[in-house]
Amino acid sequence: MAVLEIKNIAKSYGKIKALDGVSFDVPPGSVFGILGPNGSGKTTLLSIILDVLQSDEGSYTWFGQEPSHLHRKKIGSLLETPNVYHYLTAVQNLRITQSVSGRGSEEEIDEVLKKVNLYERRNSRFTTYSLGMKQRLAIAGALLGRPSVLVLDEPTNGLDPVGIAEIRELIKELATQGHTVIMASHLLDEVEKVCDHVAILKKGKLLTHGRVDDVLSDEECFLVCSEHIPALRSAMNQFPDVLRIVDTPDGIECYFHKSTTSPWRINDFCFEKGIVLSQLYTKKKRLEEKFFELTND
């Protein structure tokens, strides 16, 4: 059973379609990345599943049930900016989170503050915090009481590289403990490092979704290089099933449908054409490339 099932959700702000018939499932125990450029509808989607916004069309279920506030109590969430009382300290704010959600205890408040490295400053007011510390408090709020599902909107916003790495490790750790993490981000590198599932949005439309490996590996890319590049390029153009060839400073990249060729066949083919290769390797496609490929018009 999916933790979250989204069916055909649509939402408009006036004439602008923020979400246009988005559907996907989030499997239990997954780290699910929702990717998309700014304004693609990520936060709108998360706001809808957290009942802050109402969708115009479509529906969603949590844990296979009609969504209710009781589900939200079990979900640790961080939406857009740290939404906390500015005049209160970290501890006082977390007490409110605890009171509203019923998650956590006084000891667990200390525990999460230690986890996000805010323990030393736990009794300082929120207004005295740096951007990164504010974000850490919001993450602490989401983590309080070890909820089985976490919804994190741009969790690494405002964090320094060390902070980003810490959050990454934290998410990985949560995943190994069986928590489900749904995170929206435009930081592809982050998503690639921690997520096992991904959904890519653009202008409110779902472009693709599924396991990261599946989404990335619909094509294979081989980088080949030899002394005489033009000859190599014209030879590779004759290679059966080549989809396209791209020049790079390191040589040429040849794209194929998945499992339609292999390095030894390329090597063999070139050798027959009298070209000796100086380099040949399978290039793993990165999420970033896939993302640009999908989101570029």
Partner: protein, 277 residues
């Protein structure tokens, strides 16, 4: 559920300096205005002049038990704008910090959130009414020479009327905050309307009462509840007929106020439920 709501709202204000500062201002201004009138009256009537003696004879002491509840309620009602600022602050803060979203995200229903504010408004009303009672009783004790227990609480209905009036007017302040969202615009609208615009309109309708066939001013949002507490008896002596009419209309205005209070909260619950946060 209400225990959780009360606890959460308490956590929100417990360590909020601005909240306690404004409550302190209310705590000072209620005794302040009443003490000024009390001591001014005392000064005039204590004088050995003939005028003073006549004034005392005609007016009586407005702070004697049980009239003190009426006089104090009337005078204190001019300062409801102070707790109103507190109420507007409590709701617009949630918008400013976007905690109205976070409360929902963390598992409250939208209704629970509005109940939270209802409880806060009730709590502020309770605090303010407590100040009022303390002032009324203290001045009553100071002013009254001889009194019986029955005589003390003869006018204690004004405790309820004052509380209802405060709760209603704070509910208006809350609705303005809920709709406007921006703290300073909401303060501006509430204070400008309640202290200036409505008073001008009340005076205008009073002037035109003959022309319009009746005094429509009494139906204005604040005035409708102000008329639950007519001018105190000592001021009523200047216009006996008007004083009697005002007293006769009190029950009608209590009814109007209760209906409007209900409507304000019904509107708040409905709006918040339907609106995107």
């Amino acid at each position: 559920m209400f225990k959780n709501i009360l606890q959460t709202e308490w956590l929100k204000v417990k360590n909020y300096t601005a909240f306690w500062l404004l409550i302190s201002v209310a705590a000072i201004s209620y005794p302040g205005i009443n003490a000024i009138v009390y001591f001014t009256y005392d000064d005039i009537t204590k004088g050995k002049t003939q005028g003073g003696a006549i004034a005392k004879m005609i007016l009586g002491n407005p702070f004697n038990f049980p009239e003190t509840f009426h006089t104090t309620a009337y005078l204190s009602s001019f300062f409801t704008f102070i707790p109103a600022i507190v109420v507007i602050m409590l709701i617009t803060n949630e918008y400013t910090f976007k905690t109205h979203r976070q409360n929902i995200i963390d598992g409250w229903q939208k209704n629970t959130f509005i109940w939270g504010k209802f409880v806060s408004v009730a709590l502020v009303t309770f605090i303010v009414s407590l100040f009022f009672m303390l002032v009324a009783i203290t001045l009553g004790i100071l002013a009254t020479k001889t009194y019986t227990l029955a005589g003390i609480f003869g006018q204690s209905k004004y405790i309820l009327l004052f509380s209802l009036q405060v709760f209603y007017q704070l509910s208006i302040a809350f609705l303005i905050g809920l709709l406007i969202r921006k703290a300073f615009i909401a303060y501006g609208i509430f204070i400008f309307y309640s202290l200036i615009v409505e008073n001008i309109m009340v005076a205008f309708f009073k002037l035109k009462a003959v022309k319009f066939g009746q005094d429509f001013g009494r139906l204005l949002p604040m005035e409708i509840s102000d008329r639950m507490i007519p001018v105190p008896a000592f001021l009523g002596k200047f216009d006996e007929a008007g004083y009697k009419a005002a007293n006769a209309a009190v029950n009608t205005h209590v009814l109007y106020t209760i209906i409007l209070t209900f409507l304000i909260w019904f509107l708040s619950f409905t709006l918040f439920k339907k609106r995107d946060l």
